[in-house]
């Protein structure tokens, strides 16, 4: 477990360093994630229990953004003022995003494949 944590934290540090050094408009941890993905794809050696540790961390993903979320207590006036605009922006953009992503990826893909596989005896 310790080895896996060291690997994850190393890639976190690597991502942060690269972002700091280059001024890339990307969060450090996202950059670290992309490095780790490249490493995994290359098939180089990694601690065997990395999958377990990563899954364990992600099982409690929700806990980790509680601290940032609690800062909402300082925004009472802002929520009163902009609350309706936020709700409207969320509802419209979410409905459109789900619809557009689905249509672009092909909404009848599986049905077509099924039909094709049925037509081949």
């Amino acid at each position: 477990m310790l080895q896996s944590l060291v690997v994850l934290m190393f890639f976190q540090l690597l991502g942060e360093l690269l972002v700091q050094a280059t001024g890339l408009p990307l969060p450090g941890p996202v950059c670290g994630m992309l490095f780790l993905l490249a490493w995994l794809r290359s098939g180089w050696t990694l601690p065997v229990e990395l999958t377990g540790v990563a899954t364990g961390l992600l099982d409690h993903f929700g806990l980790l953004f509680v601290p940032a979320g609690v800062s909402i207590i300082g925004f009472g006036a802002l929520i009163m003022r902009d609350g309706p605009a936020i709700v409207l922006a969320l509802m419209l953009s979410i409905a459109a995003t789900v619809a557009i992503t689905a249509c672009a990826f092909g909404r009848r893909q599986a049905a077509q494949r099924e039909a094709r596989s049925r037509s081949v005896p």
């Binding site: 976190q12 961390l57 980790l64 459109a96 599986a110």
Partner: protein
Amino acid sequence: MIESAKLAGLLQGPLVWLPATLAIYAAATALWRRHGKAPILNPTMLSIIAIGTVLLASGVPYPAYLDGVAILNYVLGTAVVALAVPLHRHIHLLQGRTLKLAVALFAGSTTSLVLGLIVAKAAGASLETILSIAPKAATAAVSIEIARGIGGLPGLTAVVTIMTGITTAVVGPYVLDLLGVRAPETRGLALGVSGHGIATARAFSESEAAGSFASIGTALNASLTAALVPLAVWALGLM
């Protein structure tokens, strides 16, 4: 008896707030599980409400609380790095469909971002608010970092991001049914791109294939949103 000065000191460090946060989150998670993982009982949302209420009632300022739970903020970054592992595990599902995926991802990500910005601006939201909701479709860990980078309010972004996940989990399946979308891969991808981890959990409750594609959508959109938000904010003249 503990002197009040010592008590005040305790309320600054991790001794009180770290275990309190873990305990509240564990209790919220238990409640959520007992009610069939209903999106509306999202444990992160419940924990934020509970801890926020305790802080407001006890008069402990937010920075003192944040000091106590700073380690969780660090581990958040570690967990984002760990997203590479499920992404790697599911990436084979994309063979031969990368172009379609790239188009769908780009279309969805841009819609979420640009429409969110335009509607919020048209509805008269303040600039801080507009900048805070721009990265809402990225998973919270990432959206918070993006908000910090463009001058939004990370706390507001965290809450708006969680609301985005819950709304997608509740409304998304209705939109997909309305459009007659039945392919699990497509349903999963659309939910993941729009509503990150929370909607991914909803996709897994439909099928393993939908969940896997939602995970892919979540991870890829986190990266794409991080790249697109600063660009869109600049292009729309908001920064």
